[in-house]
Symmetry: C2
Subunit: 321 residues, 2 copies
């Protein structure tokens, strides 16, 4: 049978209706899809509809797709019913490996051939979860951030038995469905964003454990500092601007020695030529046609916009001179 | 002699007029101060005025203080002239320990008694820099983020020979001058924000070095993911919301085991009762009167505001369904 093209998908099935699964339901409804949901919990429908109702004002602010409606949500009583006409399945069950394994096998059995089934897992590689499915080639990870209806990022990655075509289909579908997609070449514990976030988080825990900083100081140091830039310009491009007109190359040559400093408990890699080149080339590619001056202007305007949007311009804060 | 109260300061001296020093000049001018600057470079004045001119449109958008004017900048020819009538001195010389040591001793000799002298250093503890000064008690670190006229954070910390009163004075002064201040109890390599940022950065470098992610993927994973939240809610409070109504306590009990997972190269500390309590109490304190529901609403509204401000609502991006 022909698989529905990513742009033609109309019916999505969400399995698991907790915070993440319910967040997916809210997102897909807001993007104008018909959503069928199933969750084995007794009070799942009531909780799910409450979650969607709670999210709807935010989604309305974000901008609903044409025809989007909460009435396009159907909650059904069985997994088989949920999957029977699915054009895409998003699984968001609890993070237990055995549960995920058997659930994905059940979903595989109940879903029309070729339809892609994505897991929201943050903890397990698909290689370990797809072992019991009859057609594991269409199983992959589509890892969202909380709440899935507000944070655009989805990390897409297959397991060893996943077809490349399924990964490509899912990546395109999520983009069409309004997400920002990173398609990973290979499985990596923590994916990308969580690895970066986890490194920062562990350093924060060490600092609290050692009395070096308080929770409030840690949070303030990010929201009043680098966090203002990270909302719209990532850590690499941000650091490239510390190199002035010389960009990332100059930054690495100038600040490279600080990688030997005890500025965190994480040891840095050796800054050899290959790594230096990869960082410089990567920043050049990310910058595209934009000059350093363009990027500086973009950063500055972005910081101002974010400060204003969150009520923190000098005139919006109380006090100031 | 009586020291000027932080609220009564009118004349500020900036020593060193590169990117950071010049950024300070721009900030203090925009906040309505008279600024005297000195830098030994030949073309320092021309470069400095160009930097201030370039920053002025951004500062105008941020909102200028009453009476703020670029004409209130005076560039002088000697360090002694610069410091003679200073009510506060901000030093932003290159990061060389010997240079900082002798420069701070010179500034100490040239500045009226009791006036606080702050160093912008990101690399050296004041304990190591204040060794040659006659009155080291007024020397401390006031570490800004780039650009100092846009990013609010300043980390304030004294060295072993610094008077506590000077640290308190500087912390109050910076607040009055429109900065967000973290006053640290003790010296710590990398201070707070840079340690957190550096942990994330080193994990990113490892990932590029090992072909696990590209520069673009790293940057996108932050700007489209956790970075959206970090612009206004720090990593601790953000994670507390992953615990649902149970907050940080539930989050640590639930996700604590993931601290053993290989989700970053940085090993986590032991999550013992003391650390758990410190995190829970810290989040409770940071939350203040706000319930979990309040914080969730704040996070959601913040993400929407930041997305809108940076042109990333679904309707603002091209495409979408």
């Amino acid at each position: 049978m022909m698989i529905t093209a990513p742009t033609d998908v109309r019916r999505i099935t969400c399995v698991g209706a907790g915070v993440i699964g319910g967040g997916w339901v809210a997102h897909f409804l807001a993007r104008g899809y018909d959503v069928t949901a199933w969750d084995p919990a007794e009070d799942a429908e009531e909780k799910l509809r409450r979650l969607v109702d709670a999210a709807w004002p935010a989604l309305t602010q974000l901008g609903l797709a044409e025809g989007a409606s909460r009435e396009r949500l159907t909650v059904v009583g069985t997994l088989e019913e949920a999957c029977a006409e699915a054009q895409f399945v998003q699984e968001s069950a609890p993070e237990k490996l055995e549960l995920k394994r058997s659930l994905l096998a059940q979903l595989d059995a109940a879903t029309p051939a070729g339809v892609v089934i994505a897991s929201s897992t943050s903890g397990y590689p698909m290689t370990d979860m797809q072992t019991e499915a009859v057609t594991p080639g269409r199983l992959l990870v589509g890892h969202p951030f909380n709440p899935p209806y507000l944070i655009p990022l989805v990390e897409v990655v297959g397991g060893e038995a996943t077809d490349e075509a399924a990964v490509a289909w899912a990546s395109e579908f999520y983009e069409v469905a309004g997400k920002s997609v990173i398609t990973m070449e290979r499985e990596l514990p923590g994916f990308i964003a969580n690895r970066l976030q986890e490194a920062l988080w562990r350093e924060a825990l060490h600092m609290v454990a050692n009395g070096e900083a308080t929770v409030k100081e840690i949070d303030d140091s990010i929201t009043e500092g680098p966090g203002l830039r990270w909302a719209f310009m990532g850590p690499c491009l941000t650091f490239a601007l510390a190199g002035g007109e010389g960009g990332m190359g100059h930054m690495l040559d100038h600040f490279g020695p600080s990688l030997k400093s005890p500025w965190t408990r994480l040891e840095a890699p050796e800054l050899d030529k290959a790594l230096r080149d990869a960082m410089v080339d990567g920043c050049d590619e990310a910058a595209g046609d934009r000059t350093i001056a363009d990027l500086v202007a973009e950063r500055d305007q972005g910081v101002i916009d974010v400060l204003r949007a969150t009520g923190r311009l000098p005139g919006q804060r109380e006090g100031g001179q």
